[in-house]
Amino acid sequence: MNGLRSWIARRLLLGAVQTAAVVLLVFALTEALPGDAAVAFAGDQPDPERIAAVREAMGLDRPAHERLADWVTGLLHGDFGTSLTSGRPVSGFLADGFGPTLLLATLTVLLLVPVGVGLGVLAARHEGRFTDRLISSATLGVYAVPEFALGVLLVSVFALRLGWLPPTAVGYGTGLLEHPSVLVLPVLVLLARPVCSLARLVRAGMIEALAAPYTAHAERYGISGARIRYTHALPNALAPATQQLARTIDWLLCGVIVVEALYVIPGLGTVLMNAVADRDIPVVQGLAVVFGLATVVLNLGADLVTHRLAPRSAVAA
């Protein structure tokens, strides 16, 4: 397993490089945005004198590389810096936004795997028959609907017309868990697309695995159908799905921005949108670090799982 350890070490190194690159890229892009925090702050009162004063107060009159260097130095000491706009520590922003987003993401992933896999296996089991056609077309259809459209639709039907669920999470703050009903719609919206893609991948993988000689062999030797499906075929079908799952961090982020806006959940997506609008670079940077790290860790995890599920495939470090 020494090979595995050195592989992980190399992956972590790559992860660090990736995160650094993300931060640099984000910094460069944020710098390239028209206007800075001072201009954004001045808004419809772009009195030049006032902008200059704000700029000085925020330290924006210093060269970009100096500000970046300061920020990086701080980061190495575990300090994310302070928000330009509010003067509060960035770590506070991240900590506040992290809870709701993590809750949404965790719930989504927890539901995503069983539902996606279940649908995929069900469809594969009835390949070509009605159930399969139904699941396949439904997943295709839902997959094509962007989150915002689905969100509007679900609210209209389940919250406003039928009144079954609260339409937004307004006013629940961080106590989302105590009000599980407000989470139903957001999680449904977040789930929709990943479930579809996962189900489709699992279906394809299952069909292939069910047609493989080793499945035929187990069948030939009288192993029960359910056991073959879940313990013999499924692990093979999951390898490609796992990789896809890691990519859902990207999706979840897209989805989370939309869902947080639609359902008023004050998570990282909201923090990001506000910070970009405010040109609050330290906050955007802090978020880039968080997202970069999350992506790196998830991809590493996915590769490890793939390694376990498809041991033959050499995973490139």
């Binding site: 790559l14 992860g15 490089v17 990736q18 995160t19 690159a21 993300v22 890229l25 984000v26 892009l29 944020t30 390239a32 945005l33 028209p34 396949s136 077309s137 295709l140 259809g141 997959y143 094509a144 609907v145 962007p146 989150e147 915002f148 459209a149 509007v152 209209s156 697309r193 394809a204 292939e208 047609a211 493989a212 000689p213 990519r247 961090i249 990207d250 982020l253 897209c254 921005i257 939309v258 990001l272 970009v276 978020l287 880039a288 997202f291 970069g292 992506t295 790196v296 991809n299 490139a316």
Partner: protein
């Protein structure tokens, strides 16, 4: 007959939006006079949109940009991903492989929407710019898929046999490897097209890239949704067309995948 059964549904579903997108702009005449926004009747068969324009007129015009941006972005992504993937799969120089595949790996860690948000804000793009941008964020993933598929094909003895014959790189890369991974690419392209459409639509939701009053189905869905309760057609029609486009594309991909028959994974020993 078999072909019809296989491709029929996909073609049928995709034909309406594609047809509208391609022919629509030639069918429209002068824009009808503006009316109040979100009204029904008054000679507007599908009512008016959020700035009082005729929805039918907008629908006819709005397909082309969506389809063009989506197709162009997908094509562009492959235009870059293909050489990267092919070269890195075929080269024996590890450094070259590193140089080609590491940057996409790094980009993979950047959430695509964050990327689009920032770039679009920094350099406000037009439709072409949006296509470029969406293509850009799709490159890493596409390059990885091309590379994986190409590496498999490149490791076959056929490639070594071609090398023994002194064949040129082009012939190897395009004539053999490219040809062998065509189906994988077609399947991936279908999925990517859906992803691109989704990104374009979501970008419109977030106000990126396209003029906010552009005749564009994705923009229409977003901008007209405020009037959903008083004038649903302005949202429902373009939304259904987008869904039909993605569904059709995926049905076609599925059909192509089915015709591929049993997987090629199990290679002859």
């Amino acid at each position: 007959m078999k072909r019809l059964r296989r491709y029929g549904p996909g073609v049928a579903v995709a034909a309406i939006p594609l047809g509208l997108a391609l022919v629509g702009p030639f069918l429209v005449g002068e824009p009808p006079a503006r009316a109040a926004s979100f009204t029904l009747g008054g000679g507007h068969r599908l009512g008016t949109d959020f700035v009082g324009r005729d929805v039918v007129h907008q629908v006819l015009l709005g397909g082309r940009p969506v389809v063009l941006v989506a197709l162009a972005a997908t094509a562009l992504a492959y235009l870059v991903a293909l050489p990267i993937g092919l070269i890195s799969a075929l080269t024996h120089r590890r450094w070259l492989e590193e140089v080609l595949m590491r940057p996409p790996d790094v980009l993979l860690a950047v959430p695509s929407l964050l990327m689009i948000l920032l770039v679009a804000a920094a350099f406000p793009p037009g439709a072409a710019g949006l296509a470029l941008l969406v293509a850009f964020v799709s490159i890493p993933d596409a390059a990885r898929i091309v590379r994986a598929a190409a590496a498999e094909a490149a490791s076959r003895p056929a490639v070594e046999a071609l090398r023994m014959q002194g064949e040129s790189w082009w012939r190897l890369a395009v004539g053999y490897v490219g040809r062998s991974i065509l189906r994988t690419l077609a399947a991936d392209a279908g999925i990517r097209l859906t992803g691109v459409l989704y990104l374009v639509a979501t970008a419109a939701f977030l106000g990126i890239g396209v003029a906010p009053d552009a005749a564009d189905w994705a923009v229409m869905v977003d901008r007209n949704r405020t009037g959903l309760l008083i004038q649903p057609w302005a949202v429902v029609v373009p939304a259904l067309l987008i869904v039909a486009l993605t569904m059709g594309a995926n049905l076609l991909v599925d059909a192509a995948m089915e015709s591929r028959g049993p997987s090629r994974k199990g290679r002859r020993p």
